[in-house]
């Protein structure tokens, strides 16, 4: 087909003309790739971790009810459990027992929980893989912690929670409810808070409203709010990262702008020659479109691909610090490779299109100059 052959010839010319300054164009490609790589890494990481949070917390309690005392979080009397159970639309209520323990030995915080079902036997503990790592514990070892009264409490490690669930369990210390109360000095008739399951998920807001009416000193936290919080946290961190990267992006834009718009007298003369020997304005534009497109598309593909490897297979060493912060008990986890069409399109529009347009504008001006100009 004639049209195809023609485009291919234009590409021939574009490449020949790019190869005249290999160092310059190669470094442009590298910097461009780096910028796409950084942007794509930030976007992929935040997208993946948000997706992870949403997937993992899909089964967390639909409503958590907390009691407030003088506007501060307070313990939940067992009697509230009775008062709530009769609320229409509530399928199931459960008191939760959980708290924190700061372990001065390793300067880390543990989350201590005492689930009713599937917990641990008295005197035993199931510990997260993170705790096992920092304390060097294995099943059968004894973990001795100072209780509220200053006396040591010993727990035998019955099980270390699987390492591949660290993202939710790295710092968990699961013990029996009776041990929990003894360890923290909690009376028998209180819980930390209540977890509710509703019969119809669509009515969760109505249930929450009725609940607030019936227990005026309590506050419901809905699962959708939990999910939204994670969305916000990582959006915020991604924004932080992008704000930092904005400097780099601007520097690149200036560089690209300069490269693309600074049409030298030499390039101008070249376009004049092409026009004189019979190229149409359109041919010149298409040729430059190939040039801009080739560089930006290659940079986009490479940058995105490398970002994918960086985030999903190399553990995102560049960004993990910003995106998930720092702590003594850092969970080890892998993000699931994923692709989001909207995100991909955004990145494509942000990286390929502006550069190509910036290349075209000055050429368009030059290409409309009279073809006899080179003879004057």
């Amino acid at each position: 087909m004639n049209g195809f052959a023609r485009q291919r010839y234009l590409l021939d010319f574009t490449v020949a003309s790019l190869m005249r300054r290999p160092g310059r164009n190669l470094s442009l490609l590298l910097v461009y790739t780096l910028v796409v790589f950084l942007l794509a890494s930030a976007m992929l990481y935040s997208q993946a971790i948000k997706g992870k949070a949403a997937a993992l917390l899909r089964d967390s309690p639909e409503v958590v009810v907390q009691r407030m005392e003088a506007g501060r979080h307070a313990l939940m009397p067992v009697s509230y459990l009775e008062r709530l159970g009769r609320l229409r639309g509530v399928a199931h209520v459960e008191g939760r027992l959980w708290g924190y323990y700061y372990d001065p030995v390793v300067a880390a915080n543990y989350t201590v929980m005492a689930p009713d079902r599937d917990g641990a036997l008295p005197g035993q503990a199931r510990i997260g893989a993170g705790i096992a790592r920092v304390r060097g514990l294995a099943p059968g070892d004894v973990l001795s912690l100072r209780g509220y009264d200053g006396r040591p409490h010993a727990f035998t490690v019955a099980e270390v929670l699987p390492a591949d669930s660290e993202l939710v369990s790295a710092d968990l210390l699961l013990i029996a409810p009776a041990d929990f109360r003894a360890f923290f000095g909690l009376p028998e008739d209180v819980y930390t808070d209540l977890a509710l399951a509703v019969t119809n998920p669509a009515e969760v807001r109505q249930v929450a409203r009725k609940l607030a009416e019936r227990l005026p000193d309590c506050r419901p936290i809905l699962r959708e709010e939990v999910l939204r919080t994670y969305e916000s946290v990582f959006d915020w961190r991604e924004g932080l990262l992008l704000a930092v990267l904005a400097g780099a992006v601007c520097a690149f834009l200036i560089f690209a702008w300069d490269k693309a718009t600074g049409l030298s007298a030499e390039e101008r003369r070249e376009i004049g020659i092409l026009r004189a020997i019979g190229w149409e304005t359109g041919d010149v534009l298409r040729m430059k479109l190939w040039e801009g497109g080739l560089i930006s598309f290659t940079a986009f593909c490479l940058g995105y691909g490398l970002a994918h490897i960086h985030v999903f297979h190399a553990g995102a060493p560049l960004f993990a610090g910003v995106m998930r912060g720092w702590s003594v008990l850092q969970p080890h986890f892998a993000l699931t490779p994923q692709v989001d069409a909207l995100q991909l399109t955004t990145l494509f529009l942000l990286s390929v299109v502006p550069y190509t347009v910036v290349t075209l504008v000055p050429v368009w001006r030059a290409a409309t100059v009279d073809p006899d100009s080179i003879m004057r």
Binding site: F4, Y9, R20, R269, A276, I277, W279, P371
Partner: protein, 226 residues
């Protein structure tokens, strides 16, 4: 055959630096012959050449190519005409620096989108006949003066146009290269090409290459011989 009647060309019309380059030119260029435009610099030779070669449109008057009026055609059609009907050899040759000789020669053929194999065969044949085939892959910046002019001629011929337009082709060449160049033009004339050449180099006229000479001065033709 190219006919120009009452052609004028004014640059920067209506502005203080208005400049009439051509003030009413009538000229007929016959096919298969060598027509030379002679005159001092500023006489309008090059401007006339741009009108003949469809690089520009006249401010007034008519230009007819094979009987067809082309003086009012839009630029797209002029580009098409330049592509198919004319081969250009510019002053200083205007090759694109940094590209190889072959790439330069192929340039005018790109918009036609011919099969690469055919085009390449044609370019190879041209280069062989001009004895520059061993320099095909060399960047034009590294070619000798003689090689550069041959590449320029090969570029003008690659689309096999009926008309060759040459603007002061010998202005920057020494006598030996000038004679060699004129010899090449002679070969093209023998091959049946129409040649229009603008020059004020006496050597061009001493060789007897031009069949007709039109003398220009101040934008007017002051004499045509024979």
């Amino acid at each position: 055959m190219i006919e120009l009647s009452a052609v004028t060309k004014t640059f920067n019309a209506g502005r203080p630096n208005e400049y009439p380059a051509l003030r009413g030119v009538d000229l007929t260029i016959e096919s298969g012959r060598v027509t030379a435009l002679r005159g001092p610099s500023g006489s309008g030779k090059t401007t006339l050449l741009t009108l003949i070669g469809c690089l520009a449109r006249p401010s007034s008057g008519r230009v007819r190519l094979e009987g067809e009026d082309i003086s009012a055609l839009p630029e797209r059609f002029l580009a098409e005409l330049r592509l198919r009907r004319f081969g250009f050899v510019f002053q200083r040759f205007n090759l694109i620096p940094g590209l190889s000789a072959l790439d330069n020669i192929l340039l005018p053929a790109y918009p036609l989108g011919l099969p690469y194999h055919d085009l390449r065969a044609r370019a190879d044949a041209l280069m062989a006949s001009l004895e520059i085939d061993h320099r095909a892959a060399t960047r034009v910046d590294w070619l000798s003066g003689g090689e550069v002019q041959r590449v320029a001629i090969a570029r003008a011929l690659v689309n096999d146009p009926p008309v060759i337009i040459a603007d002061e082709p010998t202005a920057h060449l020494d006598s030996r290269l000038s004679l060699e160049f004129l010899g090449l033009l002679g070969r093209l004339k023998d091959a049946g090409k129409t040649i229009v050449i603008a020059s004020h180099d006496p050597l061009v006229f001493e060789t007897g290459l031009p069949d007709r000479v039109a003398d220009l001065r101040d934008g007017r033709i002051v004499g045509v011989a024979p």
